[in-house]
Symmetry: C2
Subunit: 717 residues, 2 copies
Amino acid sequence: MSLPGTGTARWHPAWLPPEAFRAIGTRRVLVHGAGPLVDTVFEEVTRACADHGGRARRTGATPPAGTTDSAGPPDGDGGGGPAADEVDATQVALVLRGAGALPAVAGDAPVPAGGEPGALGDEGFLLTRDGAVTVLLADAPAGLLYGLFHLVRLGETAFDPARPGAVHRPAVRRRMLDHWDNVDVHPVMGQVERGYAGGSIFWRDGRARRDLARLRAYGRLLAACGINAISVNNVNVHATEARLLTDRLGDVAEIADVLRPYGVRVHLSVTFAAPVVVGGLATADPRERRVRDWWARTTRQVYQRIPDFGGYLVKADSEGQPGPFAYGRDHADGANLLAEALAPHGGVVHWRAFVYDHRQDWRDRSTDRARAAYDHFAPLDGRFDDNVVLQVKYGPMDFQAREPVSPVIAAMPATRLAVEFQVTQEYTGQQRHVCYLGPCWSEVLGFRPWGPDGHRVADVVAGVPDRGRGGDLVAVSNVGDDPYWTGHPLAQANLYAFGRLAWDPRRDPRAVLDEWIDLTFPPTTTGDPERVRETLHALLDDSWRTYERYTAPLGVGFMVSPANRHYGPDVDGYEYSRWGTYHFADRDGVGVDRTRATGTGFAGQYPQPWSTVYESVDECPDELLLFFHHVPYGHVLRGGSTVVQHIYDTHFAGAEEVTAMRERWRDLAGLVDPALYDRVGERLDEQVRSATEWRDQINTYFFRKSGVPDAKGRRIH
Amino acid sequence: MSLPGTGTARWHPAWLPPEAFRAIGTRRVLVHGAGPLVDTVFEEVTRACADHGGRARRTGATPPAGTTDSAGPPDGDGGGGPAADEVDATQVALVLRGAGALPAVAGDAPVPAGGEPGALGDEGFLLTRDGAVTVLLADAPAGLLYGLFHLVRLGETAFDPARPGAVHRPAVRRRMLDHWDNVDVHPVMGQVERGYAGGSIFWRDGRARRDLARLRAYGRLLAACGINAISVNNVNVHATEARLLTDRLGDVAEIADVLRPYGVRVHLSVTFAAPVVVGGLATADPRERRVRDWWARTTRQVYQRIPDFGGYLVKADSEGQPGPFAYGRDHADGANLLAEALAPHGGVVHWRAFVYDHRQDWRDRSTDRARAAYDHFAPLDGRFDDNVVLQVKYGPMDFQAREPVSPVIAAMPATRLAVEFQVTQEYTGQQRHVCYLGPCWSEVLGFRPWGPDGHRVADVVAGVPDRGRGGDLVAVSNVGDDPYWTGHPLAQANLYAFGRLAWDPRRDPRAVLDEWIDLTFPPTTTGDPERVRETLHALLDDSWRTYERYTAPLGVGFMVSPANRHYGPDVDGYEYSRWGTYHFADRDGVGVDRTRATGTGFAGQYPQPWSTVYESVDECPDELLLFFHHVPYGHVLRGGSTVVQHIYDTHFAGAEEVTAMRERWRDLAGLVDPALYDRVGERLDEQVRSATEWRDQINTYFFRKSGVPDAKGRRIH
């Protein structure tokens, strides 16, 4: 076997370079179990051992009766390295429980007595020591796969005799990436909508790319950070993409075939108008029998071709996409229509809550886009079928660097929810800026909508009685056909972190970053491992807050350039537009009054205590002040500064921090791969330029409006 | 013969519907002369007579020795109508002098005694009466053609026995339209850069369209308003378009062949880098012998294929186009290189003076885009070859609705100049707004750079000793493949007016509009001719000033949306950009200080008295105040209002005027062609919407900045 991309590759190995497998690859490894995912595990182990001199052996490859896994390879062994007399001296055992009789291994039996049998579930695993053997147990093949990559992450520490045993299970059942990839090149959005890493890895110029080696490498990366589902096309579904559901289903099946061995299920974005657009019906009305029949029949055909198909993703009645409103139906009617078709096959429908008036009049201050998702969906709680997942952006607006957590998350206890993040850096520097989003997502997942003693957002998504039925974590992908996958090599950390935080939302994003650094820049491959680690932490740890400092202030959002597709500053760029994204700056003050008392009432969509906290100009957290309140420039923040001085201070600071980041990166010259070094260096040059531009435009704008000079006398143009 | 487009047409006949030929077509007409242009005249007369019952006869069709015209049809006659006994009772004689022996016609000899023989030139004509015969005399075929269309314009009044004879000659020798048409569809600019009338009539998707019938109809429209040259491709010359000069020259020749019978010569936009891009040389340095040889050889080949080829149009060292700066040469070196190649063949090079720093830093207030053309070119006066025409935009910026006249025009007495207008409404409503530009161009052409007693711009262009060597009038075309040619049917008036004002710059633009109305809506074809005329005057006469009122105030310019490609308001859209188009509005005031005393010094580029007038905040004309001065909002204009109140007043007024225009248009329901009526009505709806948007954004912007309420208490959002 061979895994392209890890040697003289067309693409960077990201967090799976061969060196990352050193600890396991130098040992004698037994893989016990059957089925394609266990085959994948065995292939990985075999390759690692071949690279590093260990020895891989396989048992139990005959599938046990009653499993759905197809037959794997026969028992055998692989890899080169140690002499035959060492073969049975197993040091690591990866064991799928119930997969036939275990062979004897050196030392004690690899199945420990107290292993919480049956508690591991579809994806969980138990890592423990049994005498001299490090043992990984799983009850299902996917668990073995995730356990393998956990061993890889742990490296040598997995073999510490003192290491206590531990069970690992994902917090949510589905950890999903949405690809906004277009099959046809869109005249405005290109091959990948909001894509900053080249073309699509799936599609090119209207056709499937069929770069199966790269797709497989992608599946491997996903599995290694815990992602188990993707959607393969843009939520804005145009004519060609609509046909992926029908006559171009083969293209989707091919992707599914390649990703299946890595435990990744494929979903499809579909248009609500599919019965009309590709089905030839005169209507897509969810109440019409022929429409329901069409979806049932079409979905059955999908499952005939892709038995483990994940389901549908739908953007309906949103930014011009068709939806149930056209027929006088509501979103529950719409979502349940598709859910009904998917249910017999175990599929789900992800129904996006991103519904708002995108033809708003800026003169109309009574309409507040922030209110829209709650106003549309909260009244529908309880009406969605069990296999509907309502997909809610983490904030009420649109993936800004700073937003309050969406009030929808606390408002729909009877509905399965997916919280949606944006790994692709649409509003956070478009992969030209270093902006590690782990801390942002961690804050959102740790937010407690019912106050300090209440559950967290992560709990709601995982499922807690009376608060949430359990759902998914979803993010828009940042991957393209760029050699570094994500354009900016350091943006790989965001992809990795999303997967890891979706598996374990309570994990410290710095610890996740540490994992990523260890894997991507293994200590044995860099000139000075500690320096590399420290430098990367110095660049990435606070980079999201740095980005926040030099862009739109105090949670007010947007101020990005429409002409440059959301890249770079344009303070009034959306101020008079139809998109509902305003800041209302005048010569006296700035911000949006979203209070119940005098504003749009959005603050009232939160449960207590937040409803009261956000309502109060004094209690509202500084970082969200201008999202909830219109205040004079002289208003004193909780932090002690006036609003306008805070704007000046943060913008000077943010730009300085970026300059320091660029300096800091230079420490790594000669310590990391030169091509990667140069790529990051070029992007940091652009980040310095752009951050300076942000600083100057924002400061000049507010100086011109307020007339208040900088207290520190710095240069404002 | 047949002229497509005048019956059941794919396109609107514009100002040449069959009815416009009634006066001449009902008469007995003699055409005397030889050559293709006289053939055209005879075809026109024949068709008119066939339509309206007159009788056309031809004599002198054998070409006289020594003329370059190729052989026309033999003597003969055409058309249907009157009986044979009327054939010789000539009522109209169109006579090319020197074209062989004239036949006897009824009445006296058609050549009058006192006709300023020899003074008519290449394009002039004499219109006179000889007894009962209306006689048109010309010394060259083009004169006969222009005379014919003059007769058409005059209609029945041409046959008034009391009409005095008159000689007509064009003010400038070349009256030219530049097509910014791309051969390949440009990814950003599309098929026609700044095109608002559909696709190109020449090119589609990388190929020549070869719609010869439409091209011929286009040539006919051009001749009928006096235009005698076009360039067939965009001044931004990309890879495919560069090859029009060489292996795709045939496409250009085909256009030239079709337009030649209407007296229209074809020019080509070329890239200065052509020797490299299509010639395979390593350099385009004008001092290199092989570069000069390449241009000489290439140009010779062009003339072999197109003997009356007009010449080259070049945008060099401008907005990314290559130019002589790359080789350390100046614009005179660059222009003369091409001039040298063209001179032996009688061709000219139009060299654009639109050179400025398009990567300016908004923080740098010492750089002023308005200064750029003068700074670049004035020092080169006297260095350009005789067949170089320096093409200068009418204002120092870029075709804004209001700019001062470019100081370059008064600064280069030893250089041939072309003044460039923009018929396509890039910054004046993009053919969705009614904006009759005749008054704007008339103002520019009538501007006296040396004060009330000095010459006008039109004189400089025509040529006056010590002031100007004489040049051309040029405009960017507004024509596309739209059925109405110009998208907005009323925008045809701009195309017509440009041609007519280029022929006679002193003509009152209202009179030009009157001509256009008479021709386009002939009295015999409308339900109520006077109402049609009055309504069209009411809509068009003041529409440019109306447009000015509701857009950027007091000459400050821009404030257009970059995201919407210069359509609609975005007050700060270019304020922090690299394009050098700023207004510097802050809470205290607005405008650009271009004085010598405290500003960029641009005012000093003008001769007296304007240098002093523009320098003075008190003497500067109101409509240019913010172009030359940064003033407080409370500054009192010469008109008596404060700046900010003027902004409010003009914006309320402008939007109201557009609403009134829409109302007024409804008067024509049932009186004009229903399809045209509807098309104009739709565009007026959009103009009302857009003007309201302009009003509200501008007023809100300045209210938010200044805090000054409207003195009249009107609603500002």
